[in-house]
């Protein structure tokens, strides 16, 4: 791992709206430069995407962008990011995705010219490679349309490039359900890391060619999936908390390859990435309850630079279209943080403290997101010589933190949960420092039909 120390060492400096390395965009956003902006995410309502419905599809995105920006102007927004996360058909046939970017970019430009509202599009193609099973991470024919969408989407007005890549998912899905932390480390710190390196080299070079911004990659299929499963009480929360920590060593690879942020929201590894690398991040919490329920509604915003709703369908609520309503909610959340930033150090510290304290001891997944714990865990995440060792060390200190909170009586967990702690600790402690030792240890334990080693350069 390239990073050996933290850019932010003091929990007090891990603050919403402020990143050591802000990202400036074409229309004047300064993400991490002292403001929190809303990042609106959206998707289609129930409908299929085909020749006959394409016009209606475009119309939906037009309506979403218009409604959202109109509302943002009305609320004197300081700026907005629209995240366009594509659906299968829009990546498979890149011209569809590109057309949608074009439509939304025109609206962004229009609101910029007419009202001075700064907005940018984050373009997030979905990772098509997982359509093949076992997936061919490097040789898949699906790579081509994905990269084409990135390329042409940039030209059409997509300024921030992201993806939620799926390298390692073939083995992590089962591992999540089995609460198998060693395989999670294997999936993220070995397979994920290797795939990220492969993929982000491409994305960063494409971005640089066009003068666009390689933003980041969130371990959605890992961290977010774990949280969703834990919220359903399917897997222990303590386990889900560790998955998040482990996903950091995977997601940081994008930055090592040249991504500069804002990191994507949905696996919540952002705070660690911000502490370690200084890039601005997007986070989501209470206002993404439209997309998934979570135990980290307030604390998630403690050090966000963009504040997102993860996703909402373009359906009618009583007030109007759902994306417009969520735009409003995000704006008010952002306003509160921005007012605190404006008012000065006392105010922003108090607000952050309240955001943190209101959630921190309610759930281990919240616990590890307090700025203090983020710094403490991040230090472990950069100490070792390999991604594997770092993942293991980070997760182990997360267990320490959970156990300390339990011992202090401040956090309470059922026995069903606490029973897992020693098991997880033992499992983690059995992981060697060295990647190849670890691979050797794991290969016999994993169904070889599930994934292709060569596709990860192994």
């Amino acid at each position: 791992m390239r990073y050996k120390s933290l850019i932010i060492n003091n929990p007090e400096d891990l603050m919403f709206g402020i990143a050591p390395y802000p990202v400036k965009t074409r229309r004047g956003l300064e993400i991490g430069g002292g403001q929190v902006y809303a990042e609106l995410n959206f998707t289609l309502p129930v409908m299929s995407i085909n020749k006959n419905t394409l016009d209606r599809v475009y119309e939906h995105y037009r309506e979403i962008a218009e409604g959202a920006l109109e509302r943002a102007v009305h609320l004197n927004s300081k700026g907005v990011v629209l995240e366009f996360e594509t659906l299968l058909e829009m990546t498979k046939t890149p011209s569809i995705g590109v057309e949608i970017v074009k439509i939304m970019n025109e609206i962004c430009e229009n609101y910029y010219q007419k009202f001075g509202l700064a907005s940018e599009i984050r373009l997030t193609p979905n990772d098509l490679r997982e359509f093949e099973r076992p997936a061919k991470q490097r040789t898949s024919g699906y790579l081509e349309p994905m990269m084409e969408l990135f390329e042409k989407g940039m030209i059409a007005g997509g300024d921030l490039l992201s993806i939620e890549s799926t390298g390692g998912k073939e083995v992590s899905d089962d591992a999540l359900m089995n609460c198998d932390i060693k395989t999670i480390v294997f999936a993220l710190a070995v397979l994920g890391v290797r795939d990220m390196r492969f993929l982000w080299k491409k994305i960063v070079s494409a971005a640089n060619n066009h003068g666009k911004i390689a933003a980041g990659d969130s371990a959605c299929g890992f961290g977010n999936t774990a949280m969703v499963l834990a919220e359903k009480k399917y897997i222990p929360k303590v386990f889900a908390a560790l998955v998040r920590v482990i996903s950091v060593v995977r997601s940081i690879v994008a930055i090592e390859e040249g991504a500069v942020g804002p990191d994507k929201d949905c696996a919540y590894e952002g705070p660690f990435l911000k502490a370690i690398t200084g890039i601005p991040i997007s986070m989501e919490g209470k206002t993404s309850a439209c997309a998934h329920l979570s135990p980290i509604g307030n604390i998630a915003s403690a050090c966000c630079d963009l504040w997102s709703n993860e996703s909402v369908q373009n359906i009618k609520l009583l007030s109007g279209m759902a994306p417009t309503a969520y735009m409003e909610q995000l704006e008010y959340d952002a306003r509160l943080m921005n007012e605190a930033l404006r008012a000065g150090k006392l105010h922003r510290n108090v607000l952050q403290q309240l955001l943190v304290a209101s959630d921190v001891f309610t759930d281990p997944q919240a616990l590890i997101l307090s700025p203090k714990n983020v710094i403490r865990i991040s230090k472990e995440l950069v100490k070792g010589d390999s991604y594997v060792a770092n993942a293991r060390n980070g997760a182990l200190v997360a267990i320490d933190i959970i156990e300390e909170a339990l011992a202090s009586g401040k956090m309470k967990l059922s026995e069903m949960e606490t029973n897992y702690l020693p098991i997880l600790r033992d499992d983690l402690e059995s992981i060697p420092d060295n990647e190849s030792d670890f691979v050797e240890m794991m290969l016999p334990l994993i169904d070889p039909g599930k994934f292709i080693l060569a596709e990860y350069g192994l």
């Binding site: 129930v46 659906l87 299968l88 099973r133 359900m177 609460c179 198998d180 499963l229 399917y234 069903m416």
Partner: protein
Amino acid sequence: MEELLEKLLEAVEFGKVDQKSPYPPQLKGQDGSHEITISAIETGISPQRILEEALIPAMARVGKKFSENKIFVPQMLMSARAMGASMLQLKPFFTSGDIKTKGTFIIGTVKGDLHDIGKNLVAMMVEGGGWSIVDLGVDVGSDRFIEALRNNPGAIVGISALLTTTMVNMGEIVSSIKEEVPDTKILIGGAPVNDDFCQKIGADFYAPDPQGAVEYLNKMAS
């Protein structure tokens, strides 16, 4: 004799696969479902009884505990694995026709959709309920469902979808199946689906969770 069935039930309920498996700690060193099943067959307990009086009740208890949030999925999976170890021993009797499952359940995630965590859970729970499973995997179109139905006449079909843009494909699949293999019962599920949608596309039942699927299927079987 009864004692063996009881021990098997316990081994499956608590996920003890075989003697050397470390899990669960409280049964360490004891026989697992693998060994107990072998003994049971040797003792002359009928395979049908093993299935109906040990395995299925064990999984029913597991399902109940799971739906009451008293255990997590990993524990349920351990039980499923313990049941699997037992089933491996019973396999010859299925082939010979000496035991029968409640029926066959064909399940798959709809065309265009790769989400399968939920679908896999449903498959596992239904299997635990005493059904044979044909899992078609993800990205499954109507042809593959129909083909599987042809190979498993009378099977019940389950379809999963997680995307608002793929759930509509369920409609097409349901009509194709109903046309090609009339009288097939179709069960649907997945986060964006609901009862109204189920009725709209003419599927037979919607269940929000695996337990609901098992209950419906058991009603069909009885």
